[in-house]
Amino acid sequence: MYRYYVDDNPYYDLLGKRKRRRRKPRILHWLFAFIVFILAIVSCIAIFKTPVSLGTENILQTRDEKEQTTIYFPSKDNGALEKEYNYAEPVPLSEAVADDYFKDAVFIGDSRTEGLLVNTGLSDTIAYTYKGLTVDTVFTQPAIVQSNEKVTIIEALRNTTFTKAYIALGINETGWPYRDVFIEHYKRVIDEIQKINPQAIIYVQQIIPVSDEVSANHSYIKNEKIKEYNDLIQAMAEQECIYYLDVASVLVDKDGALPEEAATDGIHLKKAYCEKWLDYLKNHTVG
């Protein structure tokens, strides 16, 4: 008769040696280790992205609606600091571009923009202009012929290939009673264009002031109101991250009004001033 020895001792084998216990895998331990690993990765990323102080310069500023914000990030290439674009400011002076820069640009505007294109001969571009155009009629006025049918400017944009948009609206809305309604509707135009073409560079242009005579005598077009609207447009450009063009800076006199010789009726620019306007656009681009 054989005797069978049953190895039922979990700690020692039959020869008296201590056993190596195989422990059951503890899921909780692994989960904890994984969480710690993820936290370590996130911490490393956070440390990498934190702005670097350069001593006396106050690089990191608290963002609020009134202050300009300039944030510096370490460049991935050579460690030099690169400046993020400040949308609160007008597009700075740049190297002049030729007419063909505007070949794939769409100009959206009223009769003043129409005059710009006709008087400067900038014909190799996309002109979506209409006399009296407003931030509302961009959506509602059939103005552009496509496939033998007149469609609204927004509808036309949906069927248009473009990489840049130059928008100049606002003077026809200076008769509106509520400023916030104007800028809210302008934002809708911007939002729609961004939805149609998220990659497009959007330039929004200042409303060009009118002559002193028009400002004094017109029933609703006043330079003071134009200035208020321009402040709103500039703030909108910052919020929407689009490019603001200070076109009036090269067109107005020292009092901020359009000179008498600039326009027959104090509103619509003559050829010489249209050429100054186009010249400004050619010297203020971002890409």
């Binding site: 005059g115 006709v118 014909s123 326009a263 027959t264 050829k271």
Partner: protein
Amino acid sequence: MKTRATIVCILIAGMLLCGCSAKQENVYLDTQALAEALLTEIDFEDELNPVDSTMIKILYGIEDAEEAWVYVGSGATAEEVAVFAFATSEQAKDAWNKAQARVEEQKENFMSYMPQEIDKLSHATVKQLNQYVVVCVSSSDQVEEIIENYVNKD
């Protein structure tokens, strides 16, 4: 006999009359001189500037003119001058239709924007003279007279 002779005379007269009406006058027009005369002799409110052939095609849809002198305003008014010369009167007829269409479109555009310009557009001169087309939008009533002074007929 008398009746037959009368009928024959009437037929011959009719044929002569038809022949006369079928004969076209040859018209010659110095298009550049006429355009300049319209610009200088009419008192325009707006500053009119010349546009090139690409812009003419955009504004009028005309691209087959042998000569084209087109001057448009700043946008402050609907004032405009255009003088075209074509190879044939058929081409001129087609251009005349396009010029009429432009004037009608301008009326539509200015109606709500600047209704005071509608009168100029309603009285615009859009004239075909054989292979020539002349367009003038202004408040002047001298346009026809100026055109007559520059038309040479054979």
